[in-house]
């Protein structure tokens, strides 16, 4: 079991990581090896103290090199759920692995995932984010899948084996590679609606498509879904000045806590979160 698990390898996550290494903590950092895509994509940064006018690519490299020089290892596995078990945290990853840590620092950045109208209201009652979890509840029943990346096609394929019918809405350009039994609708969903006690529908500009359950599968996970029970204010995780969230032992820092979305702010908050987690 690690002392601290850090979710995110951007400036907030790496700043937290180096601070914890300084305090001899046993840590795990989850995220892309190269760091934050957002930083890398930035054209030029002029307000990161100590480094006048630097490209995003160069700054990201400096962050990665600094962390590596202190022995920080980045595990490229996407955390899909964090369970607060009381005395420790269990982290579920996309690879299927389960990690455990006494404390968690959430530095996952800001997600672009905005819920569709009706999505939050119907979640758990005919709207689901997890095909593997809920597919058996819809055995022999018609379902709809809204996939935000080609990766989600595997989930649609799995559902097609269990459900009576699958209607797939690809929210991306690439043509889906799916069995003939899956009906592909190339229309952009605009809302999810309730059509009665057990029936839901996906609404698009062209019409409505009924299903018993609508699976909404996105790549990014909103913080409140990633950590069940976490208090958020819209997309931002609520923290106090010590970066503590409402869940004891779980801290948040960087873009995930809200504006301003600045690298210097992220690094500063990462530092604070690490010191709080090390107590």
């Amino acid at each position: 079991m690690k002392d601290v698990a850090i979710i995110g390898s951007g400036p907030a996550g790496l700043s937290a990581a180096i601070t914890l290494i300084n305090r001899n903590k046993d840590i795990a950092v989850f995220g892309p090896a190269g760091g934050s895509a957002k930083v890398i994509r930035s054209h030029e940064i002029r307000n990161y103290l100590g480094i006048p006018a630097v490209s995003g690519e160069e700054l990201a490299k400096r962050f990665a090199d600094h962390a590596a020089s202190m022995g920080v290892e980045i595990t490229d596995d996407k955390i899909t759920a964090v369970y607060a078990m009381g005395e420790y945290f269990a982290l579920q990853a996309a690879s299927g692995a389960m990690y455990e840590a006494k404390r968690v620092i959430l530095a996952a950045g800001v997600t672009a995932a905005k819920p569709l109208p009706g999505e939050t209201e119907l979640l758990g009652r005919g709207v689901s984010y997890c095909a593997t979890c809920d597919a058996p509840l819809y055995k022999g029943r018609p379902v709809a899948v809204i996939g935000y990346s080609p990766k989600e096609e595997a989930e649609a394929r799995f559902l097609a084996e269990v459900c009576s019918a699958v209607t797939y809405f690809p929210v991306y350009k690439q043509a889906p590679d799916l069995p003939e039994s899956v009906k592909v609708i190339k229309e952009i969903p605009t809302a999810v609606e309730s059509k009665g006690l057990r029936s839901r529908a996906v609404r698009t500009a062209e019409g409505g498509y009924e299903a018993d359950c609508v699976f909404i599968l996105r790549d990014s996970v909103a913080p409140s879904n990633l950590v069940p029970g976490l208090d958020t204010d819209g997309e931002a995780v609520i923290v106090d000045r010590q970066m503590r969230t409402n869940i004891p032992g779980l801290y948040a820092c960087g873009d995930v806590t809200g504006r301003p979305y600045q690298i210097a702010k992220a690094a500063g908050e990462g530092n604070i979160a690490a010191i709080s987690a090390a107590e």
């Binding site: 759920a81 369970y83 607060a84 078990m85 009381g86 269990a90 579920q92 979640l123 758990g124 009652r125 005919g126 689901s128 997890c130 593997t132 979890c133 809920d134 058996p136 509840l137 057990r198 359950c213 069940p228 029970g229 869940i247 004891p248």
Partner: protein
Amino acid sequence: MLTTVVNNDMSAINASAAAFVDLNAVWCGPCRMLGPVVDELADEYDGKVDFYSVDVDENPVIAQQFGVSSIPALVILKNGKPVASSIGFKPKAQLKDWIDENI
């Protein structure tokens, strides 16, 4: 203590003054994570609240009665009447608050 419900038998749940029902399934990840938390709560509330575990595959009639469309689903009943329900994993501290507010 935690009782495993079988054969769609609601009699014990209905007879309890205060019952906490955990609706789950073996194939459900979050349900498995909630299991140890519910076990601990059952011990802590021993004598005050009766805890029940209902596998929705083994007890489909009960699952339908509670209108379960997503699991884990938790229901608090007082003398057989549902007074509160919750969907999904919740941290132990929050479940304790939820139980205290509703029993």
